[in-house]
């Protein structure tokens, strides 16, 4: 028994998700201490944490799907705003039924993701630079559609989104579970294996008869769907539209994936993205409560939100350093992976 546990532990230690898991657990423990267990383990606390952060968490999951295939998309963040803008403006301006409008928004998210995929995979443009510039294109389109933050969402939608089912299950958690379940299925199909193969070495994957382009395009499709969902969650959670929000989610999701132990090139699972996102969310939460505690403890202490960001981002920075130092063997692949994002893709079978 003890032997079996030790073996499983040894196996787990070599998994890509290990550092991400440790980081997540560490900040989680910190957060519980700061917030006191009695207040942390409440249904309403979980509800707020999840519903507020679901867009970011989903974005991270989408990004990790791409990274598994050796690509990335920096414009993921602003794509959320794009979905948000469509979901608000279609019903408001054209009188489209809300259900249809939201379905269109989701489709829009998928299409724009496929466009990014087309540029990177088919035209073989460097991923990092291309999606960076696409960010500004999408931003412009967003502002064209919606000049300034406006609009509202029907009460039933955001009430449902913020609701708790059966007295313990926040609605937002349901969305997350659904995405994870779908992933569990994909992982077990042949496509799941091919993703890893293409991510690590597209040339070798090609040599066994896999079409790397098709695999990567499908990854953009999956990511588009997840990001579409994230955009809808954002809309429900904010109950309004803003064409310029969530842009930083693109780079945040990237850092979350790396915190979670993800690597360019077929190393890491969706849970890397999940734990990485969890780390970001919990760090922010913990720092918020820490400053709350400080203002109460010290008379006359004034806090602004930049201080909080400074502290939380410093912790995130340290976390990134930790993953890079602990994953010594992966350092070289990480470096090569980054270089790959700056270069034009290769053509196979030429």
């Amino acid at each position: 028994m003890a032997e079996a546990i030790r073996r499983r532990w040894g196996h787990f230690r070599r998994q890509p998700v290990f550092t991400g898991f440790c980081l997540f657990m560490a900040v989680l423990a910190l957060n519980i201490i700061i917030q006191t267990p009695a207040k942390f383990f409440t249904v309403s606390n979980f509800r707020i944490l999840l519903s507020k952060n679901m867009p970011l968490i989903l974005t991270c999951l989408g990004q990790s799907v791409l990274m598994m295939c050796g690509v990335l998309d920096l414009s993921t963040g602003i794509q959320l705003a794009f979905v948000n803008v469509i979901a608000i403006m279609l019903p408001q301006e054209l009188g489209v039924p809300v259900g249809l409008g939201w379905a269109c928004a989701l489709t829009g998210g998928v299409l724009i993701s496929l466009f990014c995929g087309f540029c990177i995979v088919k035209l073989r443009l460097p991923a990092l630079l291309t999606t960076f510039s696409i960010t500004y294109i999408i931003k412009g389109v967003n502002v064209l559609i919606m000049g300034e933050p406006q609009g509202k969402v029907e009460k039933i939608i955001y009430k449902t989104y913020d609701s708790v089912l059966f007295g313990f299950l926040p609605f937002a958690a349901l969305i997350l579970l659904a995405v994870l379940l779908i992933w569990q299925y994909i992982k077990r199909t042949r496509y799941g294996r091919h993703m890893y193969a293409v991510g690590n070495n597209p040339r070798n994957a090609y040599a066994v008869g896999i079409n790397p382009e098709r695999v990567q395009m499908k990854a953009f499709l999956i990511k588009g769907f997840i990001v579409g969902l994230a955009g809808l969650c954002l809309t429900a959670s904010n109950a309004s539209g803003n064409p310029l929000q969530a842009e930083e989610y693109g780079i945040r999701s990237l850092s979350a994936c790396m915190l979670g132990g993800m690597n360019f090139g077929g190393w890491g699972t969706l849970s890397c993205g999940l734990f990485g996102a969890g780390f970001l969310v919990i760090v922010q939460n913990a720092v918020y409560y820490l400053f709350n505690f400080l203002t109460k403890a010290i008379q006359g202490l004034m806090i602004n939100s930049y201080w909080q960001n400074l502290v939380s981002d410093t912790i995130i920075f340290l976390g990134l350093l930790a993953t890079i130092i602990t994953a010594k063997a992966q350092r070289e692949t990480l470096k090569q992976g980054f270089v790959k994002q700056l270069k034009r893709g290769e053509k196979y079978g030429g």
Partner: protein, 504 residues
């Protein structure tokens, strides 16, 4: 019956294949032989669908087929084990072997249990013992090679291509593999076996196709495979002389030793290298690709740190920690990989020439434009290098002239020891001749030149003595009448027995 006829392929200016042909019958193991760059690997890649030929036809059972992608190749029943492996390092043994051949079970998911059983069975056949859930990158090189073959065999191909798969295998593993291949042959699989090891050819193969410079020059039957002289003749186009012993006395007469290397080791490529370079000589290093030549050069330069062994330079034992230290001590390095290791394509020709000198000066030393250009002009005139305007970017020069530029860069600082790693790779014949001339002049002035080359003609032409590397060791030292093209090729292939092995 698989047949290729008149296959041609150009990589930019290099003609890799010029009407090569190959045919193999079911139940035949055919070896594909040839020197470096004769186009063997390219021919294999054409069949594997990794290289699209410019011309020529492929026939299967008399019917013409087209192989556009690796998928087509698989569909035609062709499987390949690649020289540089095609395993995915971050995937497990099972996933690697089953990649793109996964068993689909319920609802489109992979039947993991069946896959495991299949792989277990397969590896038992190959007598490979390893953890099936281990990542490929954690396995030993020999195990990886076996998996590469196993993966290809698992596809149950009608034509099996093996490209130098035994390079990292141990003796008993090779025996087991051969047994298996013979069984496959008897079951009617056609096998093409690419190798540099002649002993394996005689032992395993039924016939041979020999390539030279991208052309198929000979087809040999079973009983001709033991005739090594005949094979060497076809590979080089010359009749080999019987090798004559030439003592080390010629070398000793050269005088003062500048560089003495003993027992150098740098895993996995360099195993045990010892050699001596004398003042004012041109020392050649020959061998097949990847026998440790470029690692050896970089060990001397201090780019890599040796695991064992000693380097004595100017009579003192040295260990350079980085190339800068070596350069300060009068060592120059010219690489054939000019784009990767030598040229600064956007900077001017003058700056490219001067940069070798800056390496020896102080970091914040002031350098005027006039000084750079003056230096460059002098170098250009002195060594008769025809370049364009000194202010033009280096990328404006042709490949051959760029290489001359690199040579001039180092010659101009007059190093005591000049290291060259395949300096004339892809350089046209005229520039090559000029570079050779410059090197000879330098040697006469007392510079020691160590040149590694994959081009045998270059070595014959240039070097006073040639060390032949084979699998990280010195296979032979050729000098005076020993120094013949035929002997060189024979030694490169590792023909000579151990007792004949000369050491420097």
């Amino acid at each position: 019956m698989f047949e290729m006829r008149g296959i041609t392929k150009d990589f930019d200016a290099v003609k890799a294949l010029k009407g090569a042909s190959l045919s193999v019958r079911p139940g035949e193991i055919r070896s594909l032989l040839g020197a470096n760059g004769s186009g063997k690997s390219t021919l294999v890649k054409v069949l594997a669908g990794l290289v699209k030929p410019d011309g020529g036809e492929v026939f299967i059972d008399g019917k013409p087929v087209r192989i556009r992608t690796s998928y087509d190749s698989k569909q035609l029943g062709i499987a390949t084990a690649f020289q540089d492996l095609s395993l995915i390092p971050t995937m497990t043994v099972i996933d690697n072997i089953k990649l793109n051949k996964e068993t689909v079970g319920h609802f489109g998911t992979i039947d993991v249990k069946k896959d495991r059983r299949d792989v277990e069975e397969l590896l038992k056949l190959f007598r490979v013992r390893c953890d099936l859930d281990a990542y490929a990158q954690t396995l030993m090189p020999s195990t990886q090679s076996m998996l590469e073959v196993a993966k290809a065999v698992y596809a149950k191909p009608r034509l099996l291509l093996l490209d130098e798969v035994t390079a990292t295998l141990h003796h008993d593993e090779i025996e087991g593999l051969f047994e298996l291949l013979r069984k496959l042959r008897d079951e009617g699989t056609a096998i093409v076996y690419v190798t540099h090891r002649m002993k394996e050819v005689a032992k395993l193969c039924d016939s041979a196709t020999i390539m030279r410079n991208g052309e198929t020059v000979a087809e040999l039957a079973r009983d001709e495979l033991n005739d090594l002289d005949g094979i060497v003749y076809h590979m080089t186009g010359k009749v080999p002389d019987k090798a004559k012993a030439c003592g080390a006395q010629a070398a000793a007469a050269e005088g003062e030793a500048l560089l003495e290397v003993s027992g150098l080791k740098y895993s996995p490529k360099v195993r045990d290298l010892s050699l001596t370079a004398y003042k004012g000589e041109i020392l050649g290093i020959g061998g097949l690709d990847g026998q440790g030549q470029s690692e050896f050069i970089r060990l001397l330069l201090g780019e890599f740190q040796p695991e064992a062994g000693a380097i004595r330079y100017r009579g003192k034992e040295v260990r350079f920690r980085r190339p800068a230290e070596a350069v300060e001590n009068g060592i120059g390095f010219i690489s054939g990989e000019r784009n990767r290791e030598a040229i600064f394509p956007l900077r001017t020709i003058a700056e490219n020439l001067f940069v070798g000198r800056t390496a020896t000066g102080g970091l914040f030393k002031f350098i005027g434009n006039r000084r750079v250009n003056g230096f460059a002009r002098e170098a250009v005139e002195k060594y008769n290098i025809k370049v364009g305007e000194l202010e033009d970017p280096a990328s404006s020069l042709s490949g051959g002239n760029q290489q001359k530029l690199i040579v001039a860069r180092w010659i101009a600082v007059m190093p005591e020891l000049l290291l060259l790693d395949d300096p004339t790779k892809g350089v046209d014949i005229a520039s090559r001749r000029e570079i050779h001339q410059i090197l000879r002049q330098c040697a006469q002035k007392g510079m020691t030149v160590v040149v590694s080359s994959s081009d045998n003609d270059e070595l014959m032409d240039l070097a006073d003595r040639i060390y032949v590397f084979y699998e990280g060791r010195v296979q032979a030292l050729l000098s005076c009448e020993d120094k013949t093209q035929e002997r060189l090729v024979a030694e490169m292939m590792g023909f000579a027995e151990k007792e004949e092995r000369a050491n420097g």
